[in-house]
């Protein structure tokens, strides 16, 4: 049985975990909280550098041996990625174990599939900078639709900052929205399978300017943005004829978004999966888990190819582990 250490630090959450084939053995994290405004990449990276040692030693303390170290190679903020990658390389060299560079977005998907038991879902990946609808086809996760400007999390955070709320803004907007009653029309922008949120943020700010209640604006903001996301997901499900939907990414913790997707799936006869909240947000366990899958299918990253990729796209990755997993499953069935 292999033990894999995973390091995650693409944005504001620094997290490390050790997993094996069956479970998450240890995990620890340290979260950067900006004093005011949004995440400052350099300050977040400095936070990670200061906390890394403590976090890693907490998950490694009782283990005599690990088999590989996985780290999130991207996408994310450059300074944060570089800090974590440096630590991963150092561990790999010092312990003489292989390094596995992992795509952060695919890690979200794979831990979701693992935890929920989804086989071949349409994935709605919603986080600070990303809003994508993905599905697996012919050896890759394909991006079927995505935001043309900012991610939904970023849109929520921007609007929250305008309201004077501290980071992260999403949960606070959700809380305000639950008290909203009046619906205000805001721009609903779906272009085929793609989405746009920046106009929505501007219109929501304008609505506040003309004296609408902030609870009502938050409510309308959420209803509009999440209806857009749900519609695009539904299109993907209809277009590809898939029967499962998986939610991934930090914004996935929003109960209203979960509710909308649940209703949509229920009406279409599809099954809907949401991982636990701790696996929705950025976490080391998902990096370790995808690292494990890649390690076992023979994919490791030599040091010279371990440079971080701040714009790493999920559809750049050749997915070898799904076929390997299938093979293992069929072998087990034959036995």
């Amino acid at each position: 049985m292999s033990l894999i250490l995973g390091l995650e630090g693409t944005a504001w959450n620094l997290s490390a975990a050790v997993v094996n084939e069956e479970r998450v053995v240890h995990e620890a994290e340290a979260t950067y909280k900006p004093a005011h405004g949004g995440i400052h990449p350099r300050e977040a990276a400095q936070h990670h550098a200061a906390e890394l040692r403590g976090v890693v030693s907490r998950v490694l303390k009782s283990l005599s041996k690990i088999d590989a170290v996985a780290f999130s190679q991207g996408p994310g903020m450059g300074p944060c990625l570089r800090t974590v990658a440096t630590a991963a390389r150092a561990l790999s060299l010092a312990l003489k174990i292989p390094l596995v560079g992992v795509n952060h977005c695919l890690a979200h998907i794979e831990i979701g599939r693992w935890q929920c038991g989804a086989e071949d879902p349409v994935v709605l990946y919603v986080s600070g900078a990303n809003s994508q609808v993905l599905a697996y086809r012919a050896g890759r996760y394909r991006v079927l639709g995505e935001t043309l400007d900012i991610g939904i999390g970023n849109a929520l955070d921007k609007f929250a900052r305008h309201l004077g709320l501290s980071h992260p803004g999403g949960p606070k907007v959700e809380e305000l929205a639950s008290r909203g009653t009046k619906f205000i029309h805001l721009p609903y922008v779906v272009k085929g399978m793609d989405l746009s949120f920046s106009g929505l943020v501007t219109a929501a700010k304008d609505a506040l300017k003309v004296g609408e209640e902030k609870e009502d604006v938050c409510y309308s903001f959420q209803e509009t943005a999440f209806a857009m996301l749900t519609e695009v997901t539904e299109r993907a499900v209809a277009h590809l004829g898939k029967e499962e939907v998986l939610l991934a990414g930090g914004v996935g913790a929003n109960k209203r978004l979960q509710g909308m997707l649940q209703t949509m799936c229920c009406d279409r006869g599809a099954r809907f999966f949401v991982p636990d909240a701790k696996y929705l947000k950025d976490n080391g366990a998902m990096i370790a888990y995808l690292g494990l899958l890649m390690f076992e299918s023979g994919e490791t990253t030599p040091i010279e190819k371990s440079a971080v990729k701040p714009n790493f796209r999920p559809d750049e990755v050749e997915v070898g582990w799904r076929t390997v997993a299938l093979k293992a499953l069929s072998e087990r069935l034959e036995e």
Binding site: T10, A11, N13, G38, P41, P75, G76, M77, G78, S127, G128, A129, N130, A135, R142, L144, E146, T147, L148, D149, I150, G151, G153, N154, D157, F183, H185, Y188, V190, K191, G192, M193, D194, S198, E223, A227, T230, E231, E234, R235, V237, A238, H239, L240, G249, V251, G259, M260, L261, T263, M264, D267, R268, K281, P310, N311, F312, R313, D315, E316
Partner: protein, 312 residues
């Protein structure tokens, strides 16, 4: 009234094919997941605009179903017998269907697998060009929204359906997004999509005089999020080129205001920057910096800012 024989549940509507008559009824059904205000507005607006644009497109020579009746959430229209483009592409991409593919206009040209698909794709491109020339954006150009029809052994032709997300606009950007959506649907559902893309481009150039500009924009749109590698290469090439030009210019005449202006303007016009700069207007004054280091670094930093901004 009439007995319904077949109901098809699409993403946003139910399509009913009625017995003994060549009618299709497309009804937008209520979606429980969204609030009534959004739901009713979207359904009403989309039904109305769809009907309007379907008949407009037809008048302009693009094949679409004839409309017979329309109410709040419902359109009754002509039934088009044929095969979805998606199925045609998938079938012809997978297996050699000599008899199917070799017929029609391609006969005698050494028909290889998929040549028929390419001709279909070309026809699609041609019609999309006509739509765009008349200021119509389809808005949801996927291979499931195109029906391939063959009548009496004549050349295959295509019908466009589902204009639910269509709108009037003639900007290069809107056309580019439209074409981009089509390419995406080819990529998402078909493994050998490059050839189909080529076919589309050929047809599109035939009917649209603005094709070159639109197709260039399509590339730019792809670079905004997709295919980042290519974008990075492109940005680097552009940066190198700019630096060289800048040096050359500097030798010729030492900083005059006129030169600075054009320099800045060129920068604004650079494809990969247009989008990124929208998000970083604050940084724009930096473009004035005369310092060479700063000027070479700009594309990267601008780009980095867009993507690195608050990623979770």
């Amino acid at each position: 009234m009439m007995e319904c024989i077949q109901r098809i549940q699409c993403a946003e509507a139910v399509v009913e094919l009625e017995e003994n008559c060549d009618l299709v009824c497309k009804r937008r059904v209520a979606k429980r997941y969204r609030v009534k205000e959004i739901d009713e507005r979207l359904r009403r607006e989309r039904t109305k605009s769809e009907a309007k644009i379907i008949s407009e497109a037809r008048r302009r020579g693009v094949l679409t179903p004839i409309i017979f009746d329309i109410s709040d959430y419902e359109i009754v229209m002509e039934r088009v017998e044929g095969v979805l483009a998606r199925e045609v592409f998938e079938r012809e991409g997978e297996a050699d269907e000599g008899s199917e593919v070799g017929e029609g206009s391609e006969v005698g040209e050494g028909s290889e697998v998929g040549e028929g698909s390419e001709a279909v794709s070309e026809k699609i491109g041609e019609f999309v060009g006509v739509l765009h020339e008349n200021g119509i954006i389809h808005g949801d150009l996927t291979t499931s929204n195109i029906i391939v029809v063959r009548r009496d052994g004549r050349e295959r032709t295509v019908y466009f359906i589902d204009f639910g997300l269509s709108f009037y606009e003639s900007s290069v950007e809107a056309r580019g997004v439209d074409v981009h959506v089509f390419f995406q649907s080819l990529q998402g559902t078909h493994e050998r999509h490059e050839r189909l893309k080529d076919g589309f481009v050929r047809g599109y150039k035939k009917s649209s005089p603005d094709a070159a500009r639109v197709l260039k924009r399509v590339e730019e749109i792809e670079h905004r999020g997709r295919y980042v590698k290519r974008k990075r290469e492109k940005t680097e090439n552009w940066r190198r080129e700019k630096t060289e030009n800048w040096r050359r210019e500097k030798k010729k005449k030492t900083s005059t205001p006129k030169f600075q202006d054009t320099h800045v303007r060129e920068r604004y016009n650079h494809p990969s920057e247009q989008h990124a700069c929208k998000n970083s207007t604050k940084r724009v004054p930096a473009a004035n910096a005369e310092d060479e280091r700063d000027c070479t670094r700009r594309p990267g930093s601008c780009y980095g800012q867009r993507n690195g901004d608050e990623r979770n």
